[in-house]
């Protein structure tokens, strides 16, 4: 355990140490990774831990981004206030959205959320007087204390802090009563009910948290990139988040980290394939579901047990889903 904590602390310190040495573009990619990580940690709670199919993480991220920008543009709130407020409002939206659909098992949530994401994109596109439509919205500068945050390095520290916080919260949540309740719901809803778990409450909590994390990521996205448009939050983005989680490994935190990192860095390197984006993610998702249903995380775990610690294989399989 102690070795583990040391290793994690060490890993957590690597990135801030090398960050100042990175050039602007690399730093931008790192920031993007961190922002998507925050959003995906929330998404992973619903998809991976609770096993519920939600398809509106794009809209949650978008809601966070647009509310952050609009609260400060239209109501004159400082961005530092608007961002957390936007996240709180989005969590509320997630709560209300989940109420009817989460009462029912089956695929209602998937469709309600698919509809929500599409409607969100349409509203942002059509309501030009409020959102500036497809041209995109310029986001006001983030001011902390008396300093305007403009440098990429500062955004890095900000995103890094939020990402660590999100990781910490997720880590603790999964190991709490709620986390175990979510795993039970994923395993079998009927069994969970018979164990006295309030299934609807557990699912609603996970869903609201996914909205909260998504919106936090969205707020960070807005202030870091500085320009947001409906294209950033449509269904293709949902597919991308989904693929990140599946490729990384559903239901594991470090799978989320791996998947997010891989699929943020890779597309940056393959920019010339922009026209094939959905096709690429779609095929990747299908291949991944087929060949490695537990994602890269599962693959690495299997390899590790086979090569290095065969005698611990049983312990490993019992730990699955942590």
């Amino acid at each position: 355990m102690r070795r583990r904590i040391l290793a994690i602390t060490f890993a957590a310190l690597i990135l801030p140490t090398i960050a100042p040495a990175l050039n602007v573009y690399h730093l931008y990619v790192v920031n993007l990774c961190l922002i998507y990580l925050v959003a995906n940690l929330g998404y992973g709670l619903v998809l991976g831990h609770a096993g519920q199919i939600s398809l509106c993480q794009g809209a949650f991220v978008g809601l966070g981004a647009y509310l952050t920008a609009l609260l400060s543009l239209r109501l004159g709130l400082p961005v530092a206030v608007a961002l957390p407020l936007a996240a709180a409002v989005t969590a509320g939206v997630g709560f209300v959205l989940g109420l009817p659909a989460l009462r029912l098992s089956g695929h209602y949530l998937a469709l309600v959320t698919l509809g929500f994401n599409t409607i969100f994109e349409i509203v942002v596109r059509v309501w030009v007087s409020m959102t500036n439509g497809s041209y995109g919205l310029k986001v006001p500068k983030l001011v902390l204390g008396s300093v305007a945050v403009t440098r990429d390095l500062h955004f890095f520290y900000l995103s890094y802090g939020v990402a660590l916080l999100a990781l910490w919260v997720s880590w603790n949540l999964i190991r709490s009563r709620v986390g175990r309740a979510l795993s039970a719901v994923r395993g079998s809803e009927i069994a969970a009910v018979s164990l006295g778990i309030n299934v609807a409450r557990a699912k609603t909590l996970a869903f609201s948290l996914s909205a909260l994390f998504g919106a936090l990521g969205g707020g960070l996205f807005a202030v870091t990139i500085g320009l947001i448009s409906p294209d950033d939050f449509g269904l293709p983005k949902v597919l991308r988040f989904l693929t990140m989680l599946v490729v990384g490994g559903l239901g594991t935190l470090w799978g989320t980290v791996i998947g997010t990192t891989l699929l943020t860095v890779l597309p940056e390197a393959l920019r010339f394939l922009k026209d094939f984006e959905e096709l690429m993610y779609g095929v990747l998702l299908l291949v991944s579901l087929n060949l490695m249903p537990r994602g890269v995380a599962g693959l690495v775990r299997d390899l590790y047990h086979r090569l290095l610690a065969p005698e611990r294989a049983f312990v490993g399989s019992a730990e699955e889903g942590t």
Binding site: Y108, A110, L111, T118, F276, L286, P293
Partner: protein
């Protein structure tokens, strides 16, 4: 001319198309327990195949409709082989995600082939008006209703009477039992995907002359989903009745309330059903034993 019967009649025309698309959802859901998130793309693929057959190859309309549907059916059979069959033993969760991925990938492919712009589809049938009492419809609308009714009726009949239909019902009811009595379940799964998607495609072919074609047009299937929920999701009759009902209600709301509300009606219906009677009009309450 009275407006109400007219609104109802033209609502029924749209409703007939919604019914077809909803039948696609129901067939696939009953057969495989998967909500097909690529159903909208089945509609889109049907529309584009018809566009190619009709405007590029110049086939007559009586050939375009059946050919497009059959071609779309085979297209989905092939896709099932590559994308869905390998996941047959995987959790339903994976299959549902797979349909979502397939749907968005197909939009991407349609955009690559046909470009992101809209295509206008010329009328499939004559648009000369026909009079029914106080109601006027054009010939094309009459054809749309006739074709929809005929194909839905044929499907129902096929499920009741034919060997293939009965086997499909057996697979839907209990996959393992069906396998034990010697039904090649895997082949029937493929057939179910092909059939369900072909109904989506038929909806797309008939819808094409009424709307504009574009790669994102699969969005319209969300209305069919609302219809399926309204009808109970497991009931073919429910899909037909629900579709006609939605078509009419939509038209009335569009006229009497506001034309903006027309496209939202489907959502309102969906939410209302989920809150009031989640099993829909024709659905049976699922008994979950704890």
């Amino acid at each position: 001319m009275e407006i109400l019967p007219q609104l109802v009649a033209s609502g029924l025309v749209n409703g007939a198309i919604y019914s077809l698309m909803a039948i696609g959802y129901v067939v696939i859901y009953k057969g495989t327990n998967v909500v097909n998130f690529a159903q909208g793309e089945a509609v889109m693929v049907g529309g584009y195949i018809a566009l190619v057959l009709y405007t590029v190859l110049g086939l007559p309309s009586y050939a375009v409709v059946p050919l497009a549907v059959v071609a779309a059916g085979f297209f989905w059979l092939a896709l099932e082989r590559v994308a869905y069959r390998p996941l047959q033993e995987a959790p339903i969760f994976s299959l549902v995600i797979a349909t979502f991925a397939v749907g968005l990938s197909l939009r991407n492919i349609a955009r690559l082939i046909f470009g992101p712009d809209i295509h206008h589809f010329p009328p499939l049938f004559s648009t000369a008006p026909v009079r029914f009492g106080t109601v006027y419809l054009n010939r094309q609308s009459v054809w749309i209703v006739l074709i929809s009714v005929a194909s839905a009726g044929l499907l129902l009949l096929c499920f009741r009477v034919t060997r293939v239909g009965k086997a499909m019902r057996a697979v839907s009811q209990n996959r393992d039992a069906a396998w034990i009595v010697g039904i090649p379940v895997t082949r029937y799964f493929a057939l179910i995907w092909g059939l369900g998607s072909a109904f989506g495609a038929l909806g797309g072919v008939l819808l094409a002359p009424l709307v504009i074609l574009h790669p994102e047009m699969g969005w319209v299937a969300i209305k069919a989903f609302a219809v399926a929920i309204l009808g109970g999701f497991e009931s073919l009759a429910g899909a037909v009745v629900g579709g006609l009902l939605l078509g009419v209600v939509e038209n009335l709301a569009g006229f009497y309330v506001s034309s903006h509300i027309k496209d939202i009606v489907a959502f309102l219906v969906m939410i209302a059903v989920l809150c009031i009677r989640p099993t829909g009009l024709f659905g049976e309450a699922a008994i979950t034993k704890v």
